[in-house]
């Protein structure tokens, strides 16, 4: 699997961003041990926009997303080839501390994962971690308002974060992530464990959050991509040569991608011919 890639492999046409790019992600190869998980995927993340990652299971969309804040470093055998420029810095350079990267590029996970602490302590967690000296109460309230959760929890901040419903827990996790005011928020299928009403609330929240943050969103739900994403990257998985290697097929403005896909593979996927 470590053999040089053949020249004939499909490589997606580069997406030309219009606005400022916060993260210029250009994956050449991502390996887990000897397994080539993703190849040749350039996904620029534009400022104050939502970039959606769609594609079938195993296409590497989550892997690429988690490479953007070096969460994959926690996985044994993870090797990244290519570059991820966050502003002017390549975050995969040797002298970069992934811990610091993650303080600027926050993450919301598929399963709501509050700590077993009070609601207040959950939101204050990152602030305390960063030794925030200002008015803690104010920042916690601001974050909870930002996550559209304040009205529901303002009278029970001392209750356990785990006592909330699934949708509330996910919004609590978003509040926890934005409390430290990160620059970028990565969301890995944040609604897949939520019911339609909670999903709608989180989607509305994303639309508000993009005013102040830059978002990247992995979703299994194509309707969700059309509802919230400004740009969409479509990944697919190549099983023709025995492996299961994900790659970028096409990236564009969401409307263009869904209405006039350049690649026939994109068209087939969007029309439901495979998934």
């Amino acid at each position: 699997m470590n053999a040089p890639l053949e020249d004939s492999l499909f490589i997606a046409e580069a997406y030309q961003p219009e606005g400022d790019v916060v993260i210029d992600c250009n994956v050449k190869t991502i390996h887990y041990g000897d397994f080539l998980a993703v190849r040749d995927s350039a996904v620029p993340i534009e400022k104050n926009r939502i970039t959606g990652f769609i594609g079938p299971s195993g296409c590497g969309k989550s892997t690429v997303l988690r490479s953007l804040n070096r969460m994959n470093d926690l996985v044994d055998g993870f090797k990244f080839g290519g570059h991820v420029h966050y502003h002017a810095t390549d975050i995969y350079k040797n002298n970069i501390d992934p811990v610091v990267v993650r303080r600027y590029i926050g993450m919301v996970f598929q399963q709501p994962n509050p700590f077993s602490m009070s609601i207040y302590d959950n939101v204050a967690f990152g602030l305390r971690l960063n030794k925030y000296k200002g008015d803690m109460d104010e920042r916690v309230e601001k974050a909870l308002r930002g996550a559209a959760l304040w009205e529901e929890v303002k009278n029970k901040l001392k209750n356990s974060g785990l006592s909330l419903s699934g949708g509330q827990q996910q919004r609590l996790c978003i509040a926890r992530a934005i409390a430290t005011e990160p620059d970028v928020l990565l969301m890995d299928e944040p609604c897949s464990a939520l019911d339609p009403i909670a999903t709608r609330q989180v989607e509305e929240l994303m639309m508000e959050l993009k005013e102040s943050y830059t978002l990247a969103l992995v979703t299994h739900n194509m309707q969700q991509a059309t509802r919230v994403a400004d740009n969409t990257a479509f990944f697919s998985v190549d099983i023709s040569r025995g492996g299961r290697t994900g790659y970028l097929v096409e990236m564009g403005k969401t409307q263009q991608l869904f209405e006039q896909p350049r690649e026939s593979l994109t068209k087939e996927y969007l029309s439901g011919q495979f998934s």
């Binding site: 811990v99 993650r102 996970f109 971690l129 785990l162 992530a177």
Partner: protein
Amino acid sequence: MSKSGVSLTKSIELPSLERKFMEGRALKSLALTSLTWFAAFLASIPLFSVIYMLLVEGGARLDLEALTELPPAGFELGGGFGNAIVGTLVMVAISTSISVPLGILAAIYLAILEPRSKLAETARFLAKVLTGFPSILAGVFAYATIVIWTGTYSAWAGGVALAVLMLPTVTLAAEEAMKQVPQRMKDAAYGMGCTRTQVIWKVVLPTGLPGILTGVILAVAGAAGESAPLLFTALFSNYYMSELAEPTASLSILIYNFSGMPFENQLELAWAASLVLVLIVLVFNIIARLIGKPKY
């Protein structure tokens, strides 16, 4: 359609839906359920009879004199085992303060840092073997190291012997408790920009605390009741301890000594000491549960 808007399907031939008690499977179920009740009852008989005997026999002599006085000799009347209570508490404190930090640190290595390394596999295997370690051998170990080295029986040696017994229990329980902390909680902490140390310190240990404390209490309860490892490490003393480097009394050895004596007074004190030992373990248990109660 009937008037109510519900149309019932035509009735079909149904077997009877009522519960039948005399049917084969119902009888079998009844028999097995009764068997489990009986087994549970049988298993609780020894436990309750021990507690009953302790309360009746030990409760009779449990007074301030028994709790504070020194052990009586031969035909003396009265007396107590105050020095043995102090000795047991001190030695358990020594063994706890050795085994708990060591055990928790080892558990962090086993559960989080390198769960699958050669060293971890070996350490885990040895810890499991050590849980079934004959306790008298822990005494031999402490004798060979501390007693011979220092030249005297001591509370130190007793504490070390007990620590050897507590260590595997604490380590394995703490490892299990830390493994129970969901990966997604750790991911969340890493995602917030925690270093590995911060993830362990701020998330894994607080979340796993109830389980860790349960293991510690189990180990303490076991250690407090051990007599074999103390026989030739702490030995016994008829006086209150004045320093850690001298032979030290303990409740378990006192019970062992007195229960074999032909004197009524000593036998009664042995019962009372047994009750005190059980109460000490009970109090530890309650305290640990209060501290370790999951807050959220």
